[in-house]
Every structure is written in C-alpha cells, then in structure tokens.
C-alpha cells in the first residue's frame, strides 16, 4: 500500500498545512479582488457573467468526459491516456452520421462519408445547426455514443483485458499506445485537416441571460444534454444493482471479487458508460466549437485528468464538481491572466491539489 508515509513525518504535516493555508488565503484574495474590480468598474458584471457561463459550459462537458475517466481509473485501476481519443472517436463518428443525414441530396458522397475531408460542402450549405437539422444532430449524438462504446469494448478485449492484472503502469503505457493508434487511424481515414462541420449556432435572447443579448443555443443544448446524462448516471449508480456493484468495485476490487460481484460484467458496464459519455462529450464539444480536429480529445485529456484528480478519483460527483472548477478556472482566470496562460492555471491547480490533497476534494478512493 502506498498510502503510507513516504514523506518525513511531522515536518511534512506542517508544511502541508502551510500550503493549505496559503491556498485558502490566495482564494480569499482573488475573491476580494474580484469584488474590488466589479466595484471600481474595471470588470463589468456582463463580462463576469460571460466568463461564468463559459466556465459552466466547459465544466459540464469536461464533467461528462471525466465521469468515464474516473470510473475506468477506479474500477480498472489505471490512468487511461486514450480516454481523450474516445472523445475524438465520438466526435468523428457522430458528425459523420449527422453529415450523412443532413447532407443527403446536397453534398457528394465523399464529403458526407468523410466529414468534408475533400474540403467540399461547407456546413452552412447543409444548415447543420440544432434548429436546422435537429434529427441529423440527434442521430449523430446517438451514434457518437454507440460507436465509441463499441470501439472501447473492442479495445478492452484486445488490449486491456489481457493486461488486467499487469498493474497500473503497463496498462498506462498500453493506453498511450492505444491513444496514438486510435488517433492516427482516425487521421488516416479522415485526414488531419482541421475543418468546420457545424453551421453557426442560432441565438436565443432572454432576460435570464443578463450578460448577453442572446445565448448560444448550441451551448444551451450542451448544458441540457450534459445535465440530463449526469442525472441519469446518478440514478443508475444509486438505484440499480449494477450501480451498487460498480461502486463496490470502485471501493475495493478484491473485496468485490470475493463477494462474488461479476467483475467482467462490471468492467464491461464501466466501458459502456464511460466511453458512451466520452463519445457524447466529444460530439457536443464540436457542436459548440463548430470545428473538428483529430487532436480534439488529446488536447483536452490533461484538463479532464485535472478535473478527475481535483474531484477525487473514483467519485463521479467529484469528477463533475472538479470539472466545473476546472471549467470556471480556465474562464474566470481570464480576469487576471492573458488567454494563452489560462490552461497553465488549470494544470497548476491540478498539481497543487495532487500535492496538498492527493485524494481529491471528495476524498475518492486512494488505491495502491
């Protein structure tokens, strides 16, 4: 067990407390500064509202992706570096279907099958936005989930299952391999061209959204879908037998084995839920951004890890809260730092949490 003290006894404890106190002080200072800025007018409420909304949008999608990462981490006992590429898989497969449907009769077959790899049929021509082609987009969402699940299960069968008892590090390395192979397989099929695949989002104005004249409907779709899925997962884990088994396995795999929980079935369920949510998350991110690239998920992976670690590995609620914190951090931090430094703030926060409270805010399972 690595929970034992590898540091140096008392001195470590006090230094940890010092760091913790510093973190609290820093948070209070920042909060006060925020109030000051609003009071003096150097930061308008509208701008802050804009940052907060973006933070929540980002946070919810990270949360969706983070649930799966957290579940595989706690149940399969390894940091899955290919999780980001499951997002990419979902994004490409889902939008391919959306394009196939929405592009019928408008775009040529190659563009419809390969998401404009040939550069033809821009999304505006297809009116590919949520109000224009709701059925195509919904179908894409479903396929994004299903296909990502299938691919994750296939990978588990070929790669992770034989390594089940090999320990965290060989699995981690294998997952790096899977990440590369998967990402560049997608690149081989779809080319590594960055391209637009959705039409610009309609806007909806309502006094509820005080910071903006019209809220982006695609973002609203993301928020609603993510929230619905999260509630669904909550119900699944709390009120079904499968959910109980999964929580038991996350808590203590060996004990779960002894008590006769069908491990492989739980593992399969883990991949299905985790990969399904990851696929949806990738798909929704493209809905918001409008563009798709093979590095979509890989570039987000570290932020998702940050969210999961922040919340505490093994706790899906932790993952959601952690993701919201990360989402808010990368957006609200723009008050103080330039936009090309905001992810540094998020990674810094993750490292800080690992150092001060490695079990995460929600004290997830500390596995050996």
């Amino acid at each position: 067990m690595s929970t034992v003290d590898l540091g140096g006894g008392i001195s470590r404890l006090t230094s940890e407390r010092t760091v913790r106190a510093l973190v609290v002080v820093a948070a209070v200072v920042l909060a006060l500064d925020l109030v000051r800025r609003i009071y003096t007018g150097s930061l308008t409420l509208g701008t802050l509202g804009f940052y907060l909304w973006n933070g929540i949008v980002d946070g919810l999608v990270f949360g969706l992706a983070g649930i799966g990462l957290s579940m595989t981490y706690s149940i399969l006992r390894f940091a899955n570096f290919s999780h980001g590429d499951l997002l990419t898989t979902g994004a490409f497969s889902g939008w391919t279907v959306a394009y196939l449907i929405a592009g019928a009769g408008i775009a040529d077959t190659s563009s419809r099958l390969l998401l404009r790899a040939d550069g033809g049929a821009p999304p505006g021509q297809l009116d590919l936005q949520i109000l224009g082609e709701p059925i195509a987009i919904l179908a894409g969402l479903v396929v994004a989930a299903l296909l990502t699940v299938l691919i994750a299960l296939a990978i588990d069968r070929v790669v992770y299952r034989p390594l089940r008892d090999a320990g965290g590090i060989p699995l981690l390395i294998a997952s790096v391999g899977v990440a590369l192979a998967l990402r560049y397989f997608i690149a081989l099929v779809y080319t590594s061209q960055n391209r637009a695949v959705t039409a610009s989002s309609p806007e909806w104005s309502s006094p509820v959204f005080f910071w903006t004249e019209g809220v982006n409907v695609h973002e609203l779709t993301m928020v609603v879908s993510a929230t619905v899925l999260m509630v669904g997962i909550h119900l699944l884990l709390q009120y079904t037998k499968l959910g109980t088994s999964m929580r038991a396995m996350a808590d203590n795999r060996d004990l779960a084995l002894i008590t006769g929980i069908p491990t492989e079935r739980v593992v399969r369920a883990t991949w299905m839920i985790g990969a399904g949510l990851a696929g949806v998350a990738g798909y929704l991110i493209v809905l918001d951004r409008g563009t798709i690239t093979i590095n979509l998920g890989w570039f987000l992976l570290l932020l998702i890890f940050a969210a999961v670690i922040l919340g505490g590995i093994g706790s899906i609620y932790g993952a959601i809260v952690g993701a919201l914190i990360i989402g808010l951090t990368i957006n609200v931090s723009l008050v103080w730092i330039p936009s090309d430094m905001n992810e540094i703030a998020a990674f810094g926060l993750m490292i800080l949490v690992l150092l001060v409270r490695p079990q995460g805010l929600f004290g997830g399972v500390e596995t050996a």
Binding site: V4, V176, G177, G348, P358
Partner: protein, 432 residues
C-alpha cells in the same frame, strides 16, 4: 544477460551488441540508398542522419532510463525538461533575445536550469504514486510549453537586459552544431579555410565525393556519439554502485528500502535532478543544433517517442536504451520516408486527397490509388505504428527486446570471497 563468472565485462558485451546493431542498420540503409540510386554523398548523408537521430534518442532514453528503468520514477515530462534546457541556453547565449554569453555558459546554464526545474517538480511530487507522478510531470511539461508559447513571455526585461522566448516564433541562438567549426575551420568561421581536423577531412571527403556540409554534420554527429558513450559510462557507473542499489531498492519497494535506513527521498531528488539535467543537455544537443527552436518542438509526443525507444530496448538496461534509440530512429523515424521514396520512385502512384478516392478504384481492382494514399499518409501511419508497438510490447514483451531490469547493482565482483581468492591464484581453503 551477463552472469557473473562470465569473463567478459558488461561493457564489452554491450559494445558488441550496439556495434552489431549499428552495422546492421547501416547495411540496410546503404541498400536502401543503392536501390534509390543515391551517390556516396547521399548515402553518407543518410547514414549521418540515422546516426544523429539514433544518438539523440539514445541520449534521451539513457536519461529516462535513470528515472524510470533504475529508480521507477515514471517521468512523462521529458519534452518539458528538454525545453527548459534549450530555452535556458537560448536566453543565456542568444545575442538578440538573451544575454549573449558564450555558448558553453549557455549549455551549463541550460543543464542547471533543467535540474532546478526537476528539483521544483521533485520536491513535492516524489511522494506521489507512479501514475499521479506521471500526470504531474506531463502537466508540468505542458505548463512549460504553454508558457514558452505565451505572448506574455515573448519579451521581458531582467536588469535592463531585454530577453524573450519569442512566443510561437521561437528563439534564435548560436547553434550547438557550430562547435564543430572549432575543429574544422581556421578561426572557427564556417566556410573558412580548413584547419585541424578539417584540413584532414575535407580533402579526404572530396576525393570520394562527399560535400563539406555533410562532413560538418557528420563531425557533429560523431560528437553526439561521444556524448552517448559518456552518458553510458556515467550511468553504468551509477547503476553498478551502492547508490544504484538504493535506486533499485526504491524501484522495487520504497517502503522496504526506507525501513532499512535508506534515505530514499534524497536519492530520488538527486537522481531526478541529474536525469533532468541530462535531458536538458540532450535537448540542447538535438533541438539546439540548428540554432533556433519553437515550443512546437516540445510536444508531449516527443516524450512518448523516448518512451518507445526505452521500452523497445528494455528499460533498466543502458545498452538497451541505446539499441532502443537506434531501432526507433532507424525503423520508425528514418525508415518509413525511405520506403516512401522507394515506392514513389518505382511505382507510378498518385496521391488521392481522401481515402474515399483511394478506395473507390478498388472496385476496378486498381490498388495503386490506395497505395498512393497510404504512402502519402506515411506520417499518420508512422504514429499508428508507434502506438501499436507500445501496445504489442506491453502485451508480449513488457521487458523490451533486451528485456531485463536486472543488471547487477554492485561496484565489485560478487563471487564468494573464497572463490575470488582462488581466481587470483591464491590457493586458500576459504574464509574462516
């Protein structure tokens, strides 16, 4: 695997192995070159390039082997530590964007900077589990890269001196490759009159048709090989010592090592700093060789390349790290473009823009467009292969080709004292 009682010292075995692998690689690439109809200059240039990449990956794999193979520190922030080394060197020695100090000060400073950033990471992070440690180091390397990319550090001032990372357009500084001019040209002026080694090499090369630029690169590559040997010697000494034993103890079971009175934290910090300094040095010798770098040269993928090199060779083995660097450079880095050139030279292939256009002609049993597409997508395929190699190694050969983490950590012969006495010719019945 060298058992004791084997009369051949470890380094001889290793040298034979590495030399053999190198010769085989050269043979393959010479054949490639001949197939393509390259002249002597082209072939030598090819071999130089293969050796260059083999050497830089060997340097990095050796440094990583100290962390991961010996000590079990799962550092996946190699690219970040390289970046720190190169950028620190750049800021110290660049005339336009830095202090304009002599290059050697820049190199030493770069190593120190990399070691210090390593310390910064190590002090708190070393008590984390291996997978958390991995995420922290990856996070750190991304923080470094993004900071270098950031416009806020593009230009700043320290003590009246204007410095800058140059953001996305990078930083320029005296190229480390320039050091070879000291032995090649009079006054160390590139393109000047040949001097010293130059007066010997240039005429010799000219008679067989090798251009001066290839000679220059080859001399620099030879310098890299010298560095590989130096890394190997230093790391092997560390490995075969009580310090190396402590590192192994940390890798195997840190709690047990601590319970035996080993101050593992100190050892980990030392070894982490040393490894980071070596990664910084390797970065300077590689990415610094052209005299300009941008943050995009330090993407996390570089770290995974080094991991592939190390794991292919077999972590824990210094010779394995070198062979791994060679295999990686030859088979995965330089090999595929050659295959592409050979295919393109010998087959009349076009490159369709999409896989759709490549697959459609299959209906007419025309495979050429598909071949053309695959050849055109060689970069993607190369990445895929790197990934598949990692998976396959984990499934079938987690210990690598030369797989063992079992080089004995001791500074002396380990045979029973009585036997050792016997071998020295002292006829003695054994110890009391």
């Amino acid at each position: 695997m060298s058992e004791h009682g084997d009369s051949r010292p470890q380094w001889v075995t290793d040298a034979l192995l590495i030399g053999g692998a190198l010769l085989a690689t050269y043979a393959v690439f010479t054949v490639f070159g001949l197939v393509l109809g390259l002249d002597v200059n082209g072939i030598v240039s090819t071999l130089q390039r293969v050796t260059f990449f083999a050497a830089v990956y060997a340097l990095l794999a050796l440094a990583l082997n100290l962390h991961w193979g010996y000590t079990g520190l799962f550092n996946i922030g190699v690219a970040g530590f390289m970046a720190v080394g190169v950028y620190a060197m750049g800021l110290l020695s660049s005339a336009e964007q830095g202090f304009g100090l002599p290059l050697w000060i820049g190199v030493v400073g770069g190593m120190i900077a990399a070691a210090l950033v390593g310390l910064l990471a190590a002090l708190p992070a070393l008590r984390l589990r291996a997978d958390y440690f991995a995420i922290v180091t990856l996070g750190l390397s991304e923080i470094i890269r993004r900071a270098l990319l950031s416009s806020s550090l593009r230009e700043f001032e320290i003590g009246g001196q204007s410095l800058g990372t140059g953001g996305g357009s990078g930083i320029g500084f005296p190229a480390t490759e320039g050091v070879v001019d000291y032995v090649l040209y009079a006054g160390a002026e590139r393109g000047g009159d040949p001097a010293l080694l130059g007066s010997l090499l240039f005429p010799l090369a000219e008679t067989v048709g090798i251009q001066p630029s290839v000679v220059r690169s080859s001399v620099y590559t030879a310098l890299l090989v010298v560095f590989v040997i130096a890394f190997y010697l230093v790391l092997s000494r560390i490995g075969a010592s009580p310090f190396g034993r402590v590192l192994k103890g940390i890798r195997e079971d840190e709690v047990a090592a601590r319970s035996l009175g080993k101050h593992t934290n100190t050892a980990k910090i030392k070894v982490f700093m040393l490894g980071c300094a070596l990664m910084g040095l390797a970065g300077m010798l590689w990415q610094g060789s052209r005299g300009t770098v941008t943050p995009s040269q330090f993407m996390p993928i570089v770290t995974f390349y080094v991991f592939v090199a190390l794991i292919v060779g077999g972590s824990g083995s210094n010779a394995g790290s070198i062979v791994g660097g060679l295999v990686f450079a030859a088979a995965l880095w330089e090999g595929p473009p050659f295959v592409r050139r050979i295919i393109r030279a010998n087959m009349d292939v076009s490159t369709p823009t999409t896989i759709y256009d490549a697959l459609l002609p299959l209906a007419d049993l025309d495979v050429l467009p598909l071949v053309g597409y695959l050849v055109g997508s060689l970069d993607e395929i190369r990445f895929m292969i790197v990934g598949i190699v990692l998976v396959v190694l984990m499934l079938w050969r987690p210990d690598g080709l030369l797989g063992h983490r079992k080089e004995i950590a001791a500074a002396t012969d380990l045979s029973r004292p009585s036997r050792r006495a016997g071998r020295e010719g002292v006829e003695e019945g054994g110890d009391p």
